[in-house]
């Protein structure tokens, strides 16, 4: 959604929320997500993904939109935290296939990181899986009442 659409959507959310209503904004943030090999006993980082321009632009548009909603006096930030959201795959090739199909415009794995992932996975215990650690941001916004002119 373009920036103007996001701001309009936030205005609509403000309109449909009751006084003192709460908006939760929960989304991934592109920031070189880690590729990890995990077993019951340990976890190892194989490398980091590369953020693609479209994903970075989407993030910038989202941050700009919510900042505009705040500056227009629609919402006030009450709380914000980061946390990890994991995508698990049985094998490195399944992970790569998923990335090529679903994340082509957002995140990319370079050859060196993919080879390292395969190598670590192949030498790990039989229960080894591959996971991508996605950085998530959750923010709590409280609706501000607009004063009548």
């Amino acid at each position: 959604m373009p920036h103007e659409g996001m701001v309009h959507a936030l205005q609509e959310i403000h309109r449909t929320l009751r006084p003192s209503g709460i908006l939760i904004d929960l989304r991934p943030v592109e920031q070189n997500w880690a590729v990890e090999i995990v077993t019951a006993a340990e976890q190892k980082t194989a490398g980091w993904l590369t953020d693609m321009p479209l994903g970075i632009a989407d993030d910038e548009a989202a941050f700009r939109s919510i900042a505009e909603a705040e500056s227009r006096g629609w919402f006030v930030k009450e709380r914000e935290e980061e946390f990890s959201f994991f995508y698990y795959f049985d094998t490195p090739s399944e992970m790569k296939e998923f990335m090529d199909e679903e994340w082509e415009d957002f995140e990319k794995i370079d050859d060196a990181t993919y080879l390292k992932t395969r190598s670590l996975w192949a030498s790990a215990n039989a229960d080894a899986r591959v996971r991508v650690r996605v950085k998530m941001l959750i923010t709590k916004w409280k609706k501000i009442e607009m004063r009548q002119p």
Binding site: M1, G5, M6, H8, A9, E12, I13, R15, T16, L17, R18, P19, G21, I22, L23, I24, D25, L26, R27, P28, A62, S65, I66, R79, E81, F83, S84, F85, F86, Y87, Y88, F89, D90, E94, E97, F98, M136, I138, K140
Partner: protein, 98 residues
């Protein structure tokens, strides 16, 4: 392919920690196939999943757990024109939508 998304339920835990949904009317904007909606709607009084993708909403409806169906409604609409009157909802959730 065996893909698991957030088996730790970190997303659900954070959401419920950030927003008390007890007795709340919740609007989720961009609910898609209801992956997250199905995890928290049971804690709300009633939840509306809003998405412009009719096919995704069909999947959301079909996958909705039976014990949750009475308290979840799915609405096909754009976030830029939310088809509800002003001051309807206690909570709004933008999950992977902004």
């Amino acid at each position: 392919m065996t893909l698991q998304k957030d088996p730790e339920n970190s997303e659900q835990k954070r959401l419920l920690d950030f927003a008390d949904l007890t007795d709340a009317l919740v609007l989720e904007i961009g609910s898609g196939e209801g992956r997250l909606t199905h995890k928290y709607a049971g804690a709300s009084k009633r939840t509306v999943g809003l998405d412009p993708d009719r096919d995704a909403l069909r999947v959301a409806q079909a996958d909705c757990p039976a014990d949750m169906r009475s308290r979840v409604a799915w609405v096909c609409a754009s976030a830029t024109n939310i088809p509800f009157t002003k001051e309807t909802f206690d909570r709004a959730v933008l999950a992977w939508s902004l």
